[in-house]
Symmetry: C2
Subunit: 235 residues, 2 copies
DNA sequence: ACATAGACTGAACAAGCGTTTAGCATGCTG
DNA sequence: CAGCATGCTAAACGCTTGTTCAGTCTATGT
């Protein structure tokens, strides 16, 4: 049998180790790490199953390597978002939301998007670490925007940052379903433009109008002590 | 070996078939259908593995039965939401958002919540069906609220309904992570109150203030034809 | 009392899994 | 040239999986 190393003339110095990692990333993202077998990964990378174990020790070792690689990619995206100047964010010169950053960094079917999806919903502690970091980033942005007078001050800034973050992550997590409903995937350029337009409108002017001062004439809130909501979230 | 049927005096007429289904629902939701083995399910239901197959034909048959059961539970919740009168929604007499409905219907660690999570992120077409139905429901509510003058009219009502729906689903999907960040799971009563307060504030008054009429003095939007955003979504 | 049906089980099966082992080819180093 | 590490493979190992099978127990209808 021939030596398979450097078999692809387009990528001459790509090692078999990297090829295996990429194949694993794609298959892990698509079917989940448990459903993707070592034999499948080996076949996708055009190597023998034994070579996968030779390079990564075990399937868990490969999993860890892929996790680390994906985390690095997310960190890179994070750094780009973090490094952006506030003025650029406000004027629209840089991706302003996490969802937008995803849409520009990774195309709609990117393995990394699928990987993030799995990471956030598998209960993997790495997912919580990621959310915590992104929340801290969002919180910092909200604080700066409040100081700049661009954001309405919130009594519960942490909850507001979480709300905004959750909204962005929802786009990434639910992109295929939202695409099926709206006709175009919000992670594509066109779909993202439509989504951002609506999100901007709501975040600037709200979605509902404040009720007139005083209680709703049809019901007296004080007669129902079990609920003390201020107006609800009528979705 | 004793006949294990009706072994639980608290639930005397619960059939082994139902016990198996419930055990499967819990394990499917917790670990995923692939990771939960027939032997595990049988052990949880305190029956032999063969009985699982005897009642459901195959593991796929069991999966289908559990899917159907979960879909029925979701439909029941949907019907309750749909049947609520508009006045009740506005006055806070009924759960007003999907997230609130989830928090009241299912407690934070409920198998059905975990099941929904898996359903929406596994690429299962049943997930898209569910999203489509909930979007239609949300769209109807938005339309009625606009007619009642409670919701600000939107140029793109479908996108607005999707935005509101995504926000609610995000709470359900990301609940554990948000709980880790905020200190309390938003699907618990306390966490939900905090979340709804912030969401109500944003949905009523917005999160950001509209920029003054005219362009940002630091940059002229017309000089950059590649981006035509109205103001961005600075999260 | 007897027969039939259904709930239920222990043991075994084939298939697929991650992993190990022994060995081949290649290229560098002395 | 010999020695050795490295990239790589075919074949097999033990284990777990979903599934099947033959048979036991316990009701119920006649």
């Amino acid at each position: 049998m021939l030596n398979m190393r450097s078999v692809d003339p387009a990528d001459p110095d790509r090692t078999a180790r990297a090829t295996i990692r990429d194949a694993a990333l794609a298959l892990f993202a698509e079917r989940g790490p448990d459903a993707a077998t070592v034999r499948d990964i080996a076949a996708a990378a055009e190597v023998s199953p034994a070579l996968v174990l030779h390079h990564y020790g075990s399937k868990d070792g490969l999993r860890a390597a892929v996790d680390e690689y994906a985390a690095g990619a997310f960190d890179a995206m994070l750094a780009q978002l973090e490094g952006g100047d506030l003025a650029d964010v406000l004027s629209g010169g840089e991706p302003a939301s996490l969802a937008e950053a995803f849409a520009t960094e990774f195309r709609a079917g990117s393995p990394l998007v699928l990987y993030l999806r799995r990471l956030l919903l598998s209960g993997d502690p790495a997912g919580t670490v990621l959310v915590r970091r992104w929340h801290a980033l969002t919180l910092g942005v909200v604080e700066r925007l409040e100081e700049a007078g661009v954001a309405r001050p919130s009594r519960d800034r942490e909850a507001r940052a979480a709300l905004l973050l959750a909204g962005d992550l929802a786009v990434v997590l639910l992109a295929p379903h939202l695409g099926a409903v709206l006709g175009e995937n919000p992670l594509t350029p066109g779909g993202m433009a439509r989504w951002t337009a609506e999100a901007t409108d709501v975040y600037l002017h709200g979605a509902f109008v404040a009720p007139p001062e005083g209680a709703d004439p049809t019901t007296d809130p004080t007669t129902d002590p079990s609920t003390d909501r201020t107006g609800g979230d009528p979705t």
